[in-house]
Amino acid sequence: MIRVNHLYKTFKTPNRKEVKALVDFSAHIQKGEVVVIIGPSGSGKSTFLRCLNRLEEVDSGEIIIDGQSILEKKADINKVREELGMVFQHFNLFPHKTVIENVTLAQLIVRKRQKEKAMKIARDLLEKVGIADKESNYPSQLSGGQQQRVAIARALAMQPKIMMFDEATSALDPEMIGEVLEVMKTLAREGMTMLAVTHEMGFAREVSDRVIFMDGGQIVEEGTAEHFFNNPIHDRTKLFLSQIL
C-alpha cells in the first residue's frame, strides 16, 4: 500500500548546521498492517510520517501510495492527504470550533458531504471513541486524553485508508494514555492500516504486525514484536531496549 524508496531529508538548523533526518530510507507497508516505529529522539521517526503526507518536503526519493507517486508535481497532495489520517502529539484540535465542528468541518469542505451525513458520521465516531456527550464542548474544556480522542475521530471522519500516529500519547498525563491507546488498539484490530510512532511498548507488543527501530535516519532493525523484544540482533537495538524497558 505504501512503498517508500531511498528517501533523503536534511533539515537546516537556524545556525546553518545540517541535520540528516532521513538517510536512504526505504520501507514497504502492506494493506492492513500495523507498523510501530520506535527509536531515540531525532532518529527521523516523525520526519518519516510527515514526509508521507508532505508536511515536510523530501530532498530526494520516491513515495508511492496506492500506486500513485505522490512526490510528482502533478500529484494532488490534498487528495492524497484525504486518504492519510494523521494524529499529532499535541492534538492540534481547532480551538475555535466545538468538538462536533472539529469532526465535521473537513467532511463538509473537503469531502463535500451533506451536513446530515457528516453529523451522522461524526456522532458515530465520537460514540466509538467514547466522548459522545461532549460534542458541543470546546476543546479547551476537555482533558488531554479526551482531546486526543477527538483528534482521532476527526482524522477517521475523512475515512482514510491509512492512519498515522505521531507520538499520539507522548503529551498526555499518564492516567490518560490508556484511554487513547484503547482507541488505537480497537482500530488496529479492525484492520486499519496504521503507522504509529510511539514509546508505548505495550501497544507495540499487543497489536503491531511489525516493529521498525530507527536511528540516524535509517532503519536499524525491523521484525515482529516477538522477534524485536525477545531476540534483537543489533547492539544499538539492544541498548535502546535496555534504556526504555
Binding site: 503526507n53 508536511l55 490534498n78 487528495k79 492527504r81 484525504e82 492519510l84 489520517g85 494523521m86 499529532f88 499535541h90 492540534n92 484540535l93 481547532f94 480551538p95 475555535h96 470550533k97 466545538t98 468541518l105 473537513a106 469542505i109 473537503v110 469531502r111 470546546y138 476543546p139 479547551s140 483528534a151 476527526r154 482524522a155 475523512m158
Partner: protein, 265 residues
C-alpha cells in the same frame, strides 16, 4: 452599563480641561466672551432650510452633518482597510518571493510617507485621472494608509497561531486557502482585536485630514463654523467631544466582541 468606565473618565478629563481654560483666561485677566449658546444650533436646529419650506421643522446642524459624513468615511475605510490588510498580511507570509516583496514594499512605502501627502496625491493625481469624487479619493487614501498598518497586524496575528493548526488542517486535505479561511484567520482575528481596535480609532481621528480636499466632514464643518463665528474654543471642544463619542463607541464595540468571542477560550 451603557457607557464604559473609560469613556466617563475621558469625558471628565475633557470637562476639567475646559474648566482649566476658563480659569486660565480669567486669571490672566483676558476677557473672552464665551458663546456656548451658538453650539446647539450647530448640532440641531428648528427652522426652515430653504425658502420652499413653509413649516419649520427639526434639522441637523452643520456639525452633525459633518459628524455623519465622518462616520460614513470611517465605516467605508474600515471595511476596505480590513480587506486590504488581510490581503497584505497573507501576501507578506507567502512562499512566493515576489508576492512577499510587493507586500513589504507596499507597507514600507505607505507607512513611511505622511497620510496628508497621500491624500493630496490620491485626490489630485489618481483622483483626477480616474475622475474620483472627493469622497472616493479621501476614503481610498484612508483605507490604503490604514490597510498597510492592518496588514502588519494581520501578519503578526497569523504568525501567532501555532503552525500545528495549519498542519492539522492541511493533513485533513484542506487546501492552503481553505485552511487559512476556516482555521488560521478566524483564530488570528480573534487575537488581533485589541490592536485592530486601536488602529480603527486612529483611522477615525486620521479621517479629519480629508477636510483638506474640501470633504465636508466633521473637521471641515468645524473649521467653517469657526470662520463664521470666531468661537474657536467652543466649536473645537465640541468637535473633539464628537470624535470622542465615535471612538468611545468603537472601543466599547470591540470590548463587546472580545467578550463574545471568548467563549471558546
Amino acid at each position: 452599563m451603557v457607557f464604559g468606565k473609560r469613556s466617563i473618565i475621558t469625558l471628565a478629563v475633557l470637562a476639567v480641561i475646559i474648566g482649566w481654560v476658563y480659569y486660565f483666561l480669567t486669571a490672566r485677566g483676558i476677557t473672552y466672551i464665551w458663546h456656548w449658546e451658538q453650539i446647539p444650533q450647530l448640532l440641531f436646529y428648528h427652522g426652515t432650510r430653504t425658502a420652499a419650506e413653509t413649516t419649520p421643522s427639526l434639522h441637523l446642524g452643520v456639525l452633525m452633518i459633518g459628524f455623519i459624513l465622518t462616520l460614513k468615511i470611517s465605516a467605508v475605510a474600515i471595511v476596505f482597510a480590513i480587506i486590504l490588510g488581510t490581503i497584505v498580511g497573507i501576501a507578506r507570509l507567502s512562499s512566493e518571493p515576489i508576492t512577499r516583496a510587493i507586500s513589504i514594499t507596499f507597507v514600507e512605502l505607505i507607512r513611511n510617507t505622511p497620510l496628508l501627502v497621500q491624500i493630496y496625491i490620491i485626490y489630485f493625481f489618481v483622483g483626477s485621472m480616474l475622475r474620483l469624487s472627493a469622497f472616493a479619493a479621501g476614503t481610498a487614501a484612508l483605507a490604503i494608509f490604514e490597510g498597510a498598518y492592518v496588514g502588519e497586524i494581520v501578519r503578526a496575528g497569523i504568525q501567532s497561531i501555532h503552525k500545528g493548526q495549519m498542519e492539522a488542517a492541511r493533513s485533513l486535505g484542506m487546501s492552503y486557502g481553505k485552511a487559512m479561511r476556516h482555521i488560521v484567520l478566524p483564530q488570528a482575528f480573534k487575537r488581533i482585536i485589541p490592536p485592530l481596535a486601536g488602529q480603527f480609532i486612529s483611522l477615525v481621528k486620521d479621517s479629519s485630514l480629508v477636510s483638506v480636499i474640501a470633504l465636508a466632514d466633521l473637521m471641515f464643518q468645524g473649521q467653517q463654523a469657526v470662520a463664521r463665528t470666531y468661537s474657536a474654543f467652543e466649536i473645537y471642544f465640541t468637535v473633539a467631544a464628537l470624535y470622542l463619542v465615535m471612538t468611545s463607541v468603537l472601543s466599547m464595540a470591540t470590548q463587546y466582541i472580545e467578550r463574545r468571542l471568548a467563549v471558546s477560550d
